[in-house]
């Protein structure tokens, strides 16, 4: 790329600024378009005209950050974009936060509209926030170093350390099914897998789609020793104070199933796996 002279730079800058202003203008008109919808759907968003999303961005293939740009990407991000499109809103992603803070953040409101984070619909979460209709099926898995002789039975021992991500159903599963092992709750699944790779922990319990993807993409020296059928389903967390948004999201999810946009996103991130 050639160097810009100062004059050119100013010109480019002003064009960019104009574009930005135009962008604001159009998002403003989007908001205006969305307003009548909001009136009959009776929902509010934190930022005018935007669907503000939070997640833990270390959960590939559902959430991750692009290696070069740092932008969020993944299955859930595409779902959020499509959702926003169906709602006539613009998608707005906030920085990553720890998984176990997502439900409290949504519950308290004011920061984000939805948490879309590969989050299983559970009674405990539904007591705090509204969960949308399920949009993906999931299961659990136990991951160990490739070639390890561990089994689900041998891991249930005081000498074993199981890494889990705090606040996840994987952590609950380990608490319930491996009561004797030491559980380490970490902030991200990446920390957990790196820890198993380096021998710091004996195993990770996490969602099967994530472990499959991670082993395929980056952790080739790990393996799944047990696929645990739990039949859990992911939903989107929305504040209980915003039932209109839950209804609108459910309607949009149903539309996405019908018009094939969900299938397209699934094909992109899971191929034939799902």
């Amino acid at each position: 790329m050639s160097m810009l002279t100062r004059r050119q730079f100013v010109q480019v800058g002003s064009i960019a600024a104009a574009g930005l202003l135009a962008g604001c203008g159009s998002s403003g008109s989007d908001a205006a378009d969305a307003a009548p919808q909001a009136a009959d759907g009776e929902y509010t968003v934190v930022n005018e005209g935007k669907l503000t999303c939070i997640s833990n961005l270390f959960f590939p293939p559902f959430e991750s950050m692009n290696e070069t740009t740092g932008d969020p990407e993944g299955f859930d991000i595409d779902v959020s974009k499509s959702l926003a499109e169906h709602l006539g809103l613009e998608v707005n992603w906030l920085p990553s936060q720890d998984f176990d803070t997502l439900v409290p953040t949504i519950k308290n409101g004011g920061k984000a509209d939805i948490a879309i984070a590969g989050m299983t619909i559970t009674d405990a979460r539904q007591a705090e926030v509204d969960m949308s209709d399920p949009y993906v099926d999931s299961n659990q898995s136990i991951v160990v170093k490739a070639g390890s002789t561990e089994t689900a039975e041998s891991l249930d021992d005081a000498s074993k350390t199981i890494a889990v991500q705090g606040g996840t159903t994987g952590a609950d599963w380990a608490d319930e099914n491996l009561p004797n092992a030491t559980k380490k709750r970490l902030s991200t699944i990446i920390d957990a897998m790196s820890g198993v790779q380096s021998g710091l922990y004996d195993a990770v319990v996490c969602d099967l789609p994530v472990s499959r993807y991670q082993i395929k993409m980056s952790y080739s020296d790990l393996e799944i020793i047990e696929e645990i059928p739990t039949g859990e389903q992911y939903g989107i967390a929305i504040s209980k104070d915003n039932p209109g948004l839950t209804a609108a999201i459910n309607a949009a999810l149903a539309e996405m199933q019908e018009d094939g946009s969900m299938a397209a996103i699934e094909a992109e991130w899971f191929g034939s796996e799902l």
Partner: protein, 467 residues
């Protein structure tokens, strides 16, 4: 001899008989059309991992439908004292890893839970029942879940599950239960701020469960600090030495450690060392990381302290024929220590707080316990409790630093004890001066004597007086 041999023989016979009985009992299990895979319960101990009887929890029961069978309903039965009343059941039917579309209804009735399905479950399917809000018998003990099911041939017995270990209620849980009931607690929690940050039930739980984490924090920093001081002193002396190689080593060491975040150093040590097959216990590694990190800061503090001692003292020492080490250890360092005590204490406070970073690599310290409790409860109160635990240590230290700083500042500008002032002497000899000034004077002197006479003198460099 023969007796013991006979004993052995009898023992063997008994063992064989027991095995036979066990096999006889075990054999019918394979004949079940609905095999009980497992029954587990979610730990419901606040801040612990136990399953407590008499408190609501979630039972997960799994069974597989065997070859050639169809199951149309399942009834789970708890031992006497347990109850399914008030529970809600999530029914999941899976073929392999995919969900099958089978609907069902669950009807709780005291110790029984009857689950009927819209259509019979086919062979090979896995049935998962998650019963939220059920209670195990209050007196604890090992609890097996049994029951029955209905297949095409009628009602059959279910195999008893492997026993679930449950415990009776603990005093802490009892306290939490009382708090749950109390009207003032409910009013308190209805305020979103108080309920989210100062929930009384969770404060009680957190104070009880965070203690081990707090002790570990203290242990780590208390063990690490003496090492850090020694290392810091060595590198400080290296940095001011005349040997360029020693200086270079010290500069590289100090700058790298001060120029990178502790968080990064922790990651490198905790994830890097095991990759090189160096396996050190997590807590020991925590001590090492904190000690090394603090040593770099201490080195700079010590260096600044040493260099703040006037050049004249070195000259005076050498004029008395002292060598480098005598000068350092008898004259310079004793004065340095006194000057750096406040800064070192501040650094100690920082290191103590920095142990919280170790939670990210799985050291079971204070922050880790607080995070666990928060992730289980979805409430911020455990963090507030953790903050209190940090403050218990840091506030008195901050106070102490301020006090020591003040005293050192006083002594440095010559505000130490004096021979009695003229007014006081006069008052003492005459015995009839105006009472107010004399009293003030005496108090003042007494306070000074107390403060400086006792604690400054051990630190006061002997050599200076000689000089």
């Amino acid at each position: 001899m023969s007796n013991t041999r006979r004993g052995t023989k009898w023992g063997l016979a008994a063992l064989v008989a027991m095995l036979a009985v066990a096999f006889a009992l075990a054999a019918p299990h394979s004949a079940y059309a609905l095999t009980t895979n497992k029954a587990t319960a979610r730990p419901n101990e606040n801040g612990g991992s136990g399953v407590i009887g008499g408190l609501a929890t979630r039972l997960t029961w799994e069974g597989t439908v065997e070859e050639g069978e169809k199951v149309s309903s399942v009834t789970l039965v708890l031992p006497e004292g347990g109850t399914f009343d008030g529970s809600s059941t999530k029914i999941t039917v899976l073929e392999g890893l995919s969900r099958a579309k089978v609907e069902g209804t669950a009807t709780p009735a005291d110790t029984q839970l009857e689950v009927t399905f819209s259509e019979p479950i086919e062979a090979g399917y896995l049935l998962r029942l998650e019963v939220e809000g059920m209670k195990f018998p209050a007196d604890g003990g090992e609890v097996s879940v049994g029951g029955s099911y209905v297949n095409q041939d009628g009602e059959q017995q279910l195999a008893e599950s492997k026993p679930i270990k449950t415990i009776a209620n603990t005093p802490l849980q009892a306290l939490v239960a009382t708090l749950d009931e109390a009207p003032w607690v409910q009013a308190w929690n209805s305020n979103p701020f108080l309920g989210m940050f100062f929930k009384p039930q969770l404060l009680a739980t957190a104070f009880a469960t965070l203690v081990p984490g707090w002790l570990l924090c203290l242990l780590i920093v208390v063990i690490a600090y003496p090492f850090a001081i020694v290392l810091g002193l060595i590198f400080a002396l290296m940095k001011i030495s005349k040997n360029p190689l020693l200086r270079l080593i010290a500069i590289v060491y100090i700058n790298i450690l001060r120029g990178t975040p502790l968080f990064l150093q922790i990651y490198i040590m905790f994830f890097g060392l095991p990759m090189m097959n160096i396996n050190i216990d997590n807590n020991v590694l925590g001590v090492i990381v904190i000690a090394i990190n603090a040593s770099a800061y201490l080195a700079e503090i010590f260096r600044a302290g040493i260099q703040s001692i006037p050049q004249g003292q070195y000259e005076a020492a050498s004029s008395l024929g002292m060598n480098y080490f005598q000068t350092m250890f008898d004259i310079i360092l004793p004065q340095t220590i006194r000057r750096v005590i406040p800064t070192v204490t501040s650094d100690f406070i920082t290191s103590y707080k920095d142990t919280s970073l170790l939670s990210s690599v799985g050291v079971m310290e204070l922050m880790m316990f607080a995070k666990n409790l928060t992730s289980v409860s979805g409430n911020m109160t455990p963090y507030v409790a953790a903050a209190i635990f940090y403050l218990i240590v840091t506030l008195p230290l901050i106070k102490a630093v301020g006090y020591v700083e003040q005293r050192i500042a006083n002594s440095e500008r010559g505000g130490g004890p004096r021979p009695k002032g003229k007014a006081a002497v006069k008052a003492a000899s005459a015995g009839e001066a105006t009472p107010l000034p004399s009293e003030l004077g005496v108090h003042f002197e007494a306070a000074r004597d107390d403060a400086f006479g006792t604690s400054v003198s051990p630190l006061a460099p002997v050599a200076v007086q000689e000089v």
